[in-house]
């Protein structure tokens, strides 16, 4: 079938494309014409008027937890992909802390099979060590062959410097990055950021230095081995500074930040709301300022949701006993526009780099091309749409968001990928007649 996306602003920072109020013709999900369309082109095509909206290469979330296999009560590959599409994403990289962990080709194949008919591309990240135990590296060659794009023991850092060294060396044969959850285990028995708020709330604290120590270790090891490290969910001022300095020295380090770490501070924990509990924990205003600076100057390459679905039963509990993490796929675009673009911290082009181009580059995934003959991989965003977050409408199986009822400006309104289109809660097969 033919569809026309009319009057849309096309932005592709990777190809230096910035076109105002133009049109795209898709035939069977493939780009068949860009720019001025003739009457012939649009006859028998379904038309979408996207005046005032922007069309960008499909967004990609480099850090999500899909929970399958193991915790299908919290999320499945399919519900996670539905959540991703609703949030504006056409691709995700899913973390290996499932049960069993993603540390064998069988689990990789299973996950890819679950996602095989979905609009959203799912790229599994495999465990860096077998069972994420930090003792011996995972069968990386076989895992790469099965389709994984990176390695990580996410949830924890690779346990010892010696295993980390082997992981870097081995993964480097395949140019695959090690994604690190940076947290020193011996300092990590807390539930919120250490500071005046943890003292006032009487909660066991997680000091920022626990993150900085592992960021330092990982950067030094990346330099020593020539390996690639991607710092997941960076949250402290010192870590941002460490990454900036390492990049200057040419060390192969990249980093990501979550919207909650540039939107909220540990003041939000004051009500013991378990939806404010995540790891790394919410930090201080000083850290938020450093993170924004890191986003501006390119120290931070990506914005990732760290989408972490948890059951209501587990989150409705004492703060110290509640699991870490929040669902994020459906609020990441709104928060990024509201907190960064509309507050003039970064440009739309920069945001699209961090939400689409850079994550794919880091994972060696081809960046969607805006040219005739390419399969359309688009996200259409209304940057000015004012909307209220409503967790009851989330497509994710879980509802653990600290942003319920928050007013946001900017929302993805449609995604197109793999000859499918999703908008207004409807799925369309673009390949059919």
């Amino acid at each position: 079938m033919k569809i026309v996306l009319k009057n849309v602003d096309i932005i592709h920072p990777g190809e230096n494309i910035n076109l105002k109020a133009t049109s795209v013709l898709l035939t069977d999900g493939m780009i068949s014409k860009l720019g001025e369309l003739t009457n012939d082109d649009i006859s028998d095509a379904r038309e979408f008027d996207y005046s005032g909206k922007i069309l960008v290469p499909g967004l990609f979330d480099i850090h999500v937890h899909l929970r399958e296999p193991g915790r299908e009560d919290e999320e499945t590959v399919v519900t996670g992909c539905n959540s991703a599409a609703t949030g504006g994403f056409t691709g995700v990289a899913c973390m290996p802390n499932t049960e069993p962990a993603i540390d064998s080709a069988e689990v990789v194949k299973f996950i890819k099979e679950q996602a095989s008919n979905h609009l959203v591309d799912v790229f599994p990240v495999a465990a860096a060590s077998l069972g994420r135990k930090g003792e011996i590296i995972s069968p990386m060659a076989e895992l790469i062959e099965a389709g994984v794009v990176a390695f990580s023991d996410d949830g924890v850092a690779v346990k010892t410097a010696s295993v980390l060294r082997r992981a870097f060396e081995y993964a480097n044969m395949y140019n695959a990055p090690i994604i690190e959850h940076c947290e020193d285990e011996s300092l990590a028995d807390g539930t919120m950021n250490e500071g005046i708020n943890s003292t006032l709330l009487g909660l066991p604290a997680l000091p920022s230095v626990a993150e900085d120590i592992i960021v330092s270790r990982d950067i030094l090891m990346a330099e020593y081995t020539g390996g690639r490290v991607h710092i997941a969910h960076i949250s402290t001022k010192n870590s941002v500074n460490l990454v900036r300095e390492a990049k200057k020295k040419g060390i192969k380090v990249t980093s990501e930040v979550t919207p909650h770490h540039f939107t909220l501070t540990d003041d939000a924990v004051k009500t013991y709301d378990t939806n404010m509990k995540m790891n790394p924990p919410l930090r201080t205003q000083e850290d938020v300022i450093a993170i924004i600076k890191g986003l501006k100057d390119g120290t931070i390459d990506c914005i990732a949701s760290d989408h972490a679905p948890h059951s209501i039963e587990e989150k409705e509990s004492e703060f110290q006993l509640a699991p870490n993490g929040i669902v994020g796929l459906e609020t990441i675009v709104g928060l990024s526009f509201s907190e960064l673009v509309h507050k003039n911290k970064i440009s739309i082009e920069d945001l699209i780099r961090k939400l689409s181009i850079n994550p794919r580059k880091i994972l060696n995934i081809p960046i969607p091309k805006f040219e005739v003959g390419a399969i359309a991989n688009f996200t259409i965003i209304d940057p000015d749409l004012v909307w209220t977050v409503d967790i009851s409408k989330f497509k994710s199986k879980s509802k653990n968001s600290p942003f319920d009822k928050r007013l946001l400006t900017g929302k993805a309104i449609a995604v197109i990928n793999r000859r499918k289109m999703y908008f207004d809660n409807q799925w369309f097969d673009l390949s059919g007649a």
């Binding site: 250490e194 500071g195 005046i196 943890s198 003292t199 006032l200 709330l201 009487g202 909660l203 066991p204 009500t271 013991y272 039963e313 409705e316 509990s317 004492e318 703060f319 110290q320 006993l321």
Partner: protein, 306 residues
Amino acid sequence: MALSSRHLLGLQGVPREDIQTILDTANTFREILERPIKKVPTLQGKTIVNLFYESSTRTRISFELAEKRLSADAINFSVSVSSVSKGETLKDTMKNIEAMKVDMVVVRHSAAGTPLYLTKICNSNIINAGDGTHEHPTQALLDMYSIRQKVGRLEGLKICIVGDIAHSRVALSNIFGLKTMGAKVSVCGPSTMIPRDINNLGIDVIYDIDEAIQENEVLNVLRIQLERKAREYFPSIREYAKYFGITQERLDKNGKDILILHPGPINRGVELSSEVADGSSQIILYQVTNGVAIRMAVLYLLGTLN
């Protein structure tokens, strides 16, 4: 004379007038405790549940006595950690208890913030009997009451809290309450047991116990948790006792007649020598008696509010 809140979750943010009211009300009940018949009908018909997720003999007994002396129906619900792990969530437990038509819940829990959480899921008055390392408001109230009785004032009082400040709910409640009442509060202990940002609370930190004795009128000496993780925060019991323990010799050396409080139970020979624990300057057993009066005052003020 009513309080501004229907719960007592902690002393942070509790207005001076409320603390004053509780302390004054405790006076009345303190008198009753000296009578041959120690029971009043004040809370007759009210049902109070003591929901204890952490074992605590003395706080529970103190609350239970207070409830009985006010003629309330007291029910003890002690939950061992093992049965919690078998599955019922705190929310379900609370809903079940409330379905039995109770009026007030006294809660002790190892997780900070649990009392606040209970206020969101039920309608009973909630009284915090200690939540994690957060607050233990009735302990701080009875400490303040005891000091006021002995010294005659709290305003301008120089008091030092000694011991493991970082892991103490008693310390935090005392700091909030005493500051509100105009006392000059300092803390003393090994640096590993002092929270990093405690200066932000407007209190001084002292690392020398002799200085703490010299500079203050009252010491509130906390129990060192020998059995728990806190043990990792100092090199040895011997070293703690030598450098932070309060002995008669140390008091004599500083030539000070100083009032010493201790929330109990005492580790004799660690934070207090036996001589000091049993000596004239301490009011530890007096605190215990006052504890019942304070808890009667809190239960009465909250229980008659509805």
